[in-house]
Symmetry: D2
């Protein structure tokens, strides 16, 4: 696929995801972690404008100089005229304006890419496309949050993207102790956090070939585990009590039955499906209740060569830390991953919302341990 074609395909896909939305759905930010869809559409565009068009295309005129305030994810106060705003408070630029902004930048980018770009530009471009694919996954999460926390429980679409999830045919895969190689070894794109390739020694371990099901998780709930501190980390227990957590996100108990909100609406729980939308805290508490544990990201990377994965991100016990030899790129691009390497947990795998190109066995996703609005699940180890 040529770079232009790839650029167009990925850019179109972001708009495709938003197609079923009403204008109002693009605007709101119900909690700090959930950005308005129009912000994602603008921010990914701002990335190409700021990182490629402005520095490398001499004659380029920015679409609107004020957009830098609005779509820069690290924007800091620059003078008395600028007003502190949260993303969800901004009714302007409108959704139509954002789409005009996308069209304007896309046209400039496509012209610019008619000539083969330099290696430097190419590297930034590939990063920008991967960046947009990550925001596509966030778009799914944020859209689900916005619709699923509305008391009318509107469906995103009739067809459910959360399909073909199964936790059946559980077995234990044994892996023998030894020195293993971890990290991305191929020539194609990977993020800086997947490098350097390095050796890790693993003890003997067993890992489940299937994810934990709703049926198993309901047993945990019915056993009173959400009310018993002994299964929980100290911070997790505070979280459970302060937030009043007693079930996975999107679950509702209505007239004696458990339902969950999916992108196609409110549906009764399917016991055979894997449990989704739980925090690391809940995953770890479930494992403790079972007398087992979560795998480390290294165990996962080695074992996953021998079982099916994908469709859900899987919490690991590993903290998100630099690999030996990790170093940040200089400048703004260097901010991409390294600065998040504290207080977060690694998830491995890939979700139904993940771009196919990101579904690789060395990919390191990361979230704070209390978060659960992304597509995730539990795989046990022992």
């Amino acid at each position: 696929m040529t770079l232009i074609t790839r650029y167009k395909t990925i850019r179109n896909h972001s708009e495709k995801i938003c197609e079923p939305l009403q204008t109002e759905d693009y605007v709101v930010q119900p909690v700090a972690d959930v950005s308005p869809p129009k912000w994602h559409l603008g921010h990914t565009t701002w990335f190409f404008e700021t990182m490629i068009l402005k520095p490398f295309l001499t004659a380029y005129q920015v679409f609107d100089p004020n957009y830098n305030y609005v779509f820069n994810s690290y924007y800091e106060s620059v003078g008395a005229r600028v007003i502190r705003t949260d993303r969800g408070n901004l009714s302007r630029p409108t959704v139509a304006d954002v789409y005009k902004y996308r069209a304007y930048v896309d046209e400039a980018m496509e012209n610019f890419l008619c000539e083969e770009p330099t290696a430097e530009v190419k590297e930034i471009l590939v990063l920008g496309l991967n960046h947009e694919q990550q925001h596509q996954e966030l778009l799914w999460y944020d859209i689900k949050y916005i619709l699923g926390h509305n008391p009318l429980f509107p469906a995103y679409a009739v067809e459910n993207i959360e399909k073909n999830l199964t936790s059946e045919n559980q077995a234990w895969l044994k892996v023998t102790a030894g020195l293993y190689e971890i990290g991305h070894q191929k020539d194609d794109f990977c993020f800086d956090n997947e490098l350097d390739v390095h050796k890790v020694y693993l003890n003997n371990f067993e890992i489940s070939t299937a994810l934990v099901s709703n049926k198993e998780f309901l047993a945990f709930m019915n056993d009173g585990a959400y009310q018993d501190f002994k299964y929980w980390h100290a911070e997790a227990w505070d979280w459970v009590k302060t937030e009043g957590i007693a079930s996975p996100m999107y679950w509702h108990y209505i007239d004696g039955e458990w339902f969950r909100y999916s992108l196609s609406g409110l549906k009764p729980i399917d016991l055979a499906e894997p449990v989704i939308h739980i925090s690391y805290y809940e995953a770890a508490a479930f494992a403790a209740w079972k007398g087992m544990r979560l795998p480390t990201e290294f165990e996962w990377e080695i074992a996953a060569q021998k079982f099916n994965w994908g469709k859900l991100w899987e919490w690991t016990e590993s903290a998100y830390l630099p690999y030996p030899g990790f170093s940040k790129a200089p400048g703004a691009l260097g901010e991409y991953n390294g600065k998040f390497m504290v207080n977060q947990k690694v998830l491995r795998g890939a979700s139904i919302a993940t771009s196919p190109k990101h579904q690789r066995i060395t990919y390191r996703n990361f979230f704070h341990p209390q978060l659960r609005w992304h597509y995730n699940g539990i795989r046990l180890a022992k």
Copy 2:
């Protein structure tokens, strides 16, 4: 004017106010006190549906039973299925849905009003119309807040509704001590808080015939009064320091000059205009700096018979308290005013956004002392 005509006129006016808005402007809630315009449009409709159509029109089918959660201003949790939400987090019902809801209720109301309603219904109807007129005024404030706190400073309209404001021809009106009658004495509608008519003894006082101008307020600012605790109430001083207050709301200092955001956009300060968008705290501090004071609401009511007022709400020194003989109506309508009679200050007059029917000399508006997003100003007394 017949009741039907009056109903239609007032209902149309709410939609007229929103005409220049983009869909996105209807949705956001930048701070707790500012409601999304679509919420105002829905809530005032819910009032007629809930207070008149449901109890008095036997065959009435509610538009959507879930709207009770969304548009009830006092909504409390009713079961596990209901989700705590803030108004600004709700993308649904959409703006189009809300306009359909209005049309549906208006049609039912207009049919219902073809026959002369009972006295009971009539009383609720008149209250509902006054209620909608109060929300029309809030619509102006909230729209201004939403647009005026956007870093793009979009104009609401080319023509400025904030016009013909003047603070010229200042003089001191003397009022002689004596017993005066306070409260609404006519037969037409008034709110319960304007009753009973009662006697108040006033000392000799003088009151200004003009409001404090931007020029005078700039002198206060330039004298460092925002930085000198001696002019401020103790709570006001906390507020000034905690919030970093150093000018009226909507003022911006750009390249050595003061601008303010009006509904027609960002404009240089007009020194001859009255200062607007200040809190009671700032009004009282200005008066202290001048060695004067604010009038009480009783002084205002007596003196205002002899000077021009209207176009701005004027802060008074009076706390919002019940008049002698005040009593709450039974049921939901009784909640209208009495329950707010603590920790608020009375404003008298009327603003450019006030419905003409509400512009009466006995009308008691009330806001918490730190609020300033409504149209208000300062009149001095001594």
Copy 3:
């Protein structure tokens, strides 16, 4: 009584109040409104040192220049060396240090007062003594809070100062409409907020000769009034729900019986005693439940000439506002009362903890409406 004798008597009384305390009781600040007893002892001393000795006694050496940071009630950051602290975080100066500070300042004051002071000094001295008497009353409140919120419920003393409280012989006193004079008319000391004397017109009203009893308040509780929003101001209802309020402060339900903490320990409720330690919100809700109201401070001042009062502060409906002609003294002394005249409610009467000299019919006490750790009660009007 000579000034010196009066000075000594009042200063000794503060220390007398603290006599039964353990050293540890002097130190803690369980909530922001409750100051450590050692702070009261130091702050009242600092007042005389700062307002009299430093400006008027040329050769005076301050006891410790750092004490200005610690005992100034309005202390603001003055340079990089100063650390933000809350009063309850300060273990030093120790209690023994504070008593040394008192002895040092008292000796200097007593020497200074051997000669008749100027009128200016005298006025400050009288204010300082009244200031210390107000802090004596706060000392009682704060000591009770510190001991009464300790899970060991230690008694302050065997003998109960909360005695001889009665709410018996209730009757309705009628007062005829007319013009009345309000404010302090005698020559002796009063606070600036009791002036000017001015006329107020009162309608006919009736006022209870007794305070509301625990028996009556239990009926309110047993009727579910704490759970029914219709008796409460909107802000009160938020407070009840957020804070989980369901009884007066210091009440505990133990094995089916109501107890309350008094300064002599935990005791069963005495039904004949007046209810104490309730907020304005609860007083107003109780009155609403009874279909009555609280008196205004003006009604109280006129009616109290004909019934017994004292032993408890009585919530009134009046907001704390300046009387006509009120003006602040220049300088620091002018900060005494005026700057608190917003968002507070007036209480009239006097409590068992009030200095006898402060028990006058024109005295205006004031607290925020949600506070209830002071000795207060409810008198109804209609």
Copy 4:
């Protein structure tokens, strides 16, 4: 040393640490992480009473049944009579009461230990003594915080325990890549978090033989690194801005010179000493500014066999996670370490406040990354 002698020695040492304190110093809790010294003295006593005397000594009478509320570190509400309190709000039990409690429990323990205890009791006893030694270290930190955040800057003692700290003779120690064994291998006591012994593969690395000095850290400060986001983790940058951090804890800039508070009072910075009282965030930012990194805990454990360490805890890059094979003991003792294994960073080494018995190369200390009131420093790796 016999068990009784060891018990007495350790128990006496806690009281020895507190000897220079004034009664008031035992009571306050300036921030949530800092407990009042009297609470440490009571809580460590409660441990022996609750874990040994109550279950294993049949005739034992508890000193005071209410102390369970006060000294249980995990105390949860048990009935209407219990009041939520923070440790620093409790003036009772008094310091004298706490010493009586210690004497009472010590006497019972010493009698109980006259006979050789069972293996089960012995294990709990050894844990209890190690627990008390950990609280001894916390006592030092908390006492320093309480005195060092008092505007009078009182000294704990004339002699400075923070002595003989040096960061001189810096060199780079090279360690060769390979498989290494990690964890406690001897027979004597260790905490459960130091087990199981397991293999870790390390790449080639270099580690400094000396800690970072005040001189080096001042260069970091003078280079503006506290104001440049590029050296900081994203959460660290928020912390720096929100808390206004611009130097290590206890540093004060007075008249153009940097001072720091030590337990012997406020002193000018000694440039040759290692920097202390910095957070992980600051340690990591310093390393980034140097173009280096912090060692992992595994690198540290291997390399520390060849350099001098002790006197300060050293931040590592490692998150606090379970070793392979880690399992929690059943019951309350199992809560000891495992439940803290999220969102914390490992520190290795030992501080001047650490009990000699805890100074072992496999000891894993852990703190949240923003904390800095403990004795800690920076060792670089590359």
